[in-house]
């Protein structure tokens, strides 16, 4: 026990010196578990996040828009894979993570349980949802676990395109016909609050936050990140003449940041528990795609095996 204590103290010391932890280094079991939970949850969010956007690929309003959306959704798949690969360095298998997702044992970002009803939603998702994700991910580039940090660096570079293309869509609609502007405003109205809740519960109600900060997995609190996001996004909405759906929103001269209204946490927890508009649909679709793709994985295995045998026979001959 005393030995364990001293190992943990050494570990904390090492982190306090701003050093990174790499896969084979000693780490407390709880640090490993926290990371597996967080990274796999992050990976699942990227993968499930393909669904609300993929929903609009066949209906994109122009070839340009379609090409961009395809590239973006492909990026999300890539991001999921970088993250599964980072999680695997901690000793969990991807198959196990996918089972956890499909059985509901693992969560994904609650935001993807909302539907994308119009084309303006594709803009709002890029601008607000990816915008909020970037806020969090930029912080995570400095996370203490090496493979997670490196995955975040690559992801952040790519996410920037996602947010800009989303804002461009919303901007075009906000400057379009009266109906288009109304669609853009409606999308902002529906995505604003769920986006703010992406940062998670308030610091006082976030029991794991303190330990994650101490281990430098997280570097900023949920509320700090949320405030930064609000301060950045409000002027972007004003610039294109849209209104943030919050009557309590106002600039606080003294603090040099925006005051904003209270979030509906009952809704947040209800969606996490599975009662959002699309929870069942998202998982059902993931399971269906996974099952319908089974023959491809099997065929690839069979082909690899055949090639191996052929090679073996030719070397033997």
């Amino acid at each position: 026990m005393t030995k364990e204590m001293s190992l943990e103290e050494k570990f904390q010391d090492y982190l306090d010196g701003e050093n990174k932890i790499e896969p084979k280094d000693w780490m407390p079991e709880k640090y490993r578990k926290t990371l597996v939970r967080q990274i796999s949850q992050h990976a699942h969010s990227e993968i499930i996040g393909m669904q609300p956007e993929g929903n609009w690929i066949t209906r994109a309003p122009s070839l340009r828009a379609k090409l961009i959306l395809l590239a973006k959704v492909q990026d999300e798949a890539g991001h999921g894979l970088y993250l599964y690969s980072a999680a695997e360095t901690l000793g969990i298998d991807r198959k196990e993570m996918i089972e956890q997702l499909q059985t509901g044992k693992a969560k994904y970002s609650s935001i993807f349980n909302y539907p994308t009803l119009t084309w303006a939603d594709i803009g709002a998702v890029g601008w607000l949802v990816d915008g909020a994700a970037i806020q969090n991910q930029v912080m995570l580039t400095r996370t203490s676990y090496g493979p997670y940090s490196r995955a975040m660096v690559k992801i952040c570079k790519e996410e920037s395109f996602h947010q800009r293309q989303g804002y461009e869509i919303v901007m075009h609609m906000a400057r379009g016909t009266k109906e288009q502007k109304a669609m853009a405003q409606d999308a902002l109205n529906r995505w604003w609050w769920p986006s703010l809740m992406m940062f998670g519960p308030s610091d006082d109600d976030s029991p794991n936050s303190a330990q994650s900060m101490k281990w430098k997995i997280k570097r900023k609190s949920n509320d700090t990140l949320r405030q930064e996001f609000v301060d950045k996004t409000v002027p972007q909405a004003e610039f294109i003449g849209l209104t943030i759906p919050d009557k309590d929103l106002k600039w606080n001269e003294e603090r040099g940041e925006y005051d904003f209204g209270k979030m509906n946490w009952d809704e947040f927890y209800s969606v996490i528990k599975g009662n959002g508009p699309c929870n069942k649909q998202r998982i059902a679709h993931h399971v269906k795609a996974h099952e319908e793709g089974a023959w491809v994985r099997e065929a690839a295995n069979a082909y690899a095996e055949k090639q191996r045998k052929r090679k073996q026979a030719s070397t033997a001959a």
């Binding site: 084979k24 991807r94 198959k95 099952e291 994985r297 295995n301 690899a304 191996r308």
Partner: protein, 102 residues
């Protein structure tokens, strides 16, 4: 669906470590890992996963289990002996300024 159980036990592809040369003249650098049934597919997957934005001109894939790594526990015996050999560094030698750059 009958196919399901079967597939769940079979989709565990091998893990490959991926190395990419960003341009000629530079080393291949480790970028991450991925799953693939064989080397050829690993290259194809690596191209899709790690080089969507012209990140590379050449890809290496190596089965993860083929990599032998030094243990973090050996860090001291492996790397500290070189710490006290300061004479291996050019700054150890005092050369008069008049000699010029050397």
């Amino acid at each position: 669906m009958k196919i399901t159980l079967h597939s769940m036990s079979k989709d565990n592809w091998k893990i490959w470590e991926v190395f990419i040369r960003s341009k000629n003249g530079l080393n291949h650098k480790h970028v991450g890992s991925l799953h693939a049934p064989d080397a050829e597919m690993a290259i194809k997957n690596a191209r899709d996963v790690y080089t969507r934005r012209s990140e590379g001109v050449s890809i290496w894939v190596v089965p993860s289990d083929a990599v032998t790594a030094s243990s973090p526990d050996e860090k001291e015996p492996l790397f500290t002996p070189s710490d006290d050999k300061v004479y291996r560094h050019p700054t150890f030698y005092e050369i008069p300024d008049e000699v010029g750059h050397m």
